[in-house]
């Protein structure tokens, strides 16, 4: 059958069902396969390779939808050539897609634990499906804490959902920005300063972190200071990659390939490589 024969390097055409403007430089594309035999299942934390025809291909995490809803949402920050080209696309246009690829957040394994989700900037995008999965079985987890930091208040993503997460599901949603003017009534400071303001039982906590590498490094050291065990901390490595299936070696990270073994890693398994510039 054609579905199983297609090379993992060949993108499938997907139709853009909806374009959502998230912030001044970030947008979401909800896409559906043109070939209806293509599934849309993925695990929270996985990514797709999105291809802007004639321009290039980039790895983008899957940021939704909520369980039971249609499509696959990708939240993209316009930072360069390909993401810029994706930004130009409109509803009903076509994008190429390969995936889903990569490892997932440990949802099943975290049952019975308190959960601390830490996101910096666009890092909330790959964590949102994890949050949806946790909330879908809310009673299976203890405290759920979302600590989210961005540069300025206007960079916050998915703000409309915070009240539901707080009110309906009892999530401790704590936000912070690097700087703000007086209009902002919330926290100012880096995201790891929120850890000590959250209520969770460190020994019995699973932490899932996604953000710039420097932020993750400081977040991990603060979590360790609070005595969250290293083997209960999960981080993402979003270094550049090309093939996404472990062929090309572009994204080698120590002995691992980020595309195939990552992007989500258990901290104790990669800590000797984490934060090393040359890798």
């Amino acid at each position: 059958m054609e579905t199983t024969m297609q090379s993992p390097m060949t993108p499938w055409p997907y139709r853009i069902e909806k374009v959502i403007r998230e912030t001044h430089d970030t947008f979401s594309l909800n896409v559906v396969p043109k070939d209806s035999s293509r599934g849309m299942t993925f695990n929270p934390g996985q990514f797709n390779m999105l291809y802007a025809f004639g321009v290039g291909e980039v790895p983008i995490s899957i940021s939704g939808p909520k369980p039971g809803e249609q499509g696959m949402i990708h939240t993209i920050r316009d930072v360069g050539v390909v993401t810029g080209a994706l930004h130009q696309l409109k509803k009903d246009q076509t994008v190429g897609l390969r995936g889903p690829f990569g490892s997932a957040w440990p949802i099943e394994e975290s049952k019975g634990y308190d959960i601390v989700i830490m996101a910096g900037g666009i890092g909330l995008a790959p964590l949102r499906p994890a949050l949806y999965a946790l909330l879908d079985q809310r009673d299976k987890f203890g405290e759920i804490v979302l600590l989210y930091g961005v540069r300025k208040p206007e960079d916050l993503l998915f703000t409309k959902e915070f009240e539901t997460w707080r009110g309906k599901y009892g999530v401790q949603v704590k936000l912070t920005v690097d700087t703000a003017d007086r209009e902002w009534r919330g926290n100012v400071g880096v995201v790891n300063t929120l850890i000590q303001r959250a209520d969770f039982d460190p020994i019995n906590t699973v932490a899932m972190i996604c953000g710039p590498e420097v932020m993750m490094r400081f977040a991990v050291s603060e979590l360790k200071r609070q005595e969250v065990p290293e083997n209960q901390i999960f981080i993402t490595m979003e270094r550049n990659m090309k093939c996404a299936v472990g062929f090309c070696g572009h994204c080698q990270f120590g002995p691992a390939f980020i595309c195939k073994d990552g992007p989500i890693f258990r901290y104790d398994k990669v800590k000797q490589f984490f934060g090393i510039r040359e890798i």
């Binding site: 930072v79 910096g120 900037g121 930091g149 961005v150 540069r151 960079d155 912070t176 690097d178 700087t179 703000a180 003017d181 007086r182 902002w184 009534r185 919330g186 926290n187 100012v188 400071g189 880096v190 790891n192 300063t193 000590q196 303001r197 953000g211 710039p212 420097v214 932020m215 400081f218």
Partner: protein, 153 residues
């Protein structure tokens, strides 16, 4: 009503402090309350107060000339505000404004300094609690300076 001493003893900053020191420190303490928008202190004012935040949120602001004030940090429940009372020439470096109703215990900096000079063990106790806060603030400031969420992150 809870006594000042028991409020201080239950604050994270004074966790496990020896009871005799808690009593000494309480001698410098009084209760304060700030409404949202109220300034707690202003840049360049003499710094004689050390605030132990019980609840609320305070913004530390800098005001670049000709520009709107910028909030560089907020402190809230269970945290402390101000350490300039310990460092000559005892001047505030920022404006501190309550963002919401804030209740705190204020410790008189001169009174604390005198007690620390008289009893170096108390001084050491206070410094070893204060230094991690200063260290974390410095770490956070460095991260803010890196502008890690910028385009080149």
């Amino acid at each position: 009503m809870k006594s000042l001493e028991s409020i201080l003893g239950n604050h994270p900053f004074f966790e496990n402090l020896a009871p005799e020191y808690l009593t000494l420190i309480t001698g410098c303490a009084s209760n304060v309350k700030f409404e949202a928008g109220e300034f707690i202190y202003r840049q360049d004012e003499e710094a004689n107060n050390f605030y132990i935040i019980r609840e609320g949120k305070v913004a530390l602001e800098v005001c670049p000339p000709g520009k709107k004030p910028i909030t560089v940090q907020t402190v809230s429940d269970g945290e402390i505000l101000g350490w300039a009372w310990l460092i000559p020439p005892y001047h505030c470096q920022f404006d501190a404004q309550a963002v919401e109703l804030t209740r705190a215990i204020v410790l008189d900096g001169r009174c604390l300094r005198t007690k620390c000079v008289e009893d170096h063990t108390l001084g050491y106790e206070l410094l070893s609690r204060l230094l991690p806060v200063v260290g974390r603030t410095m770490e956070a400031t460095r991260l803010q300076l890196l502008d890690i969420y910028g385009n080149n992150d």
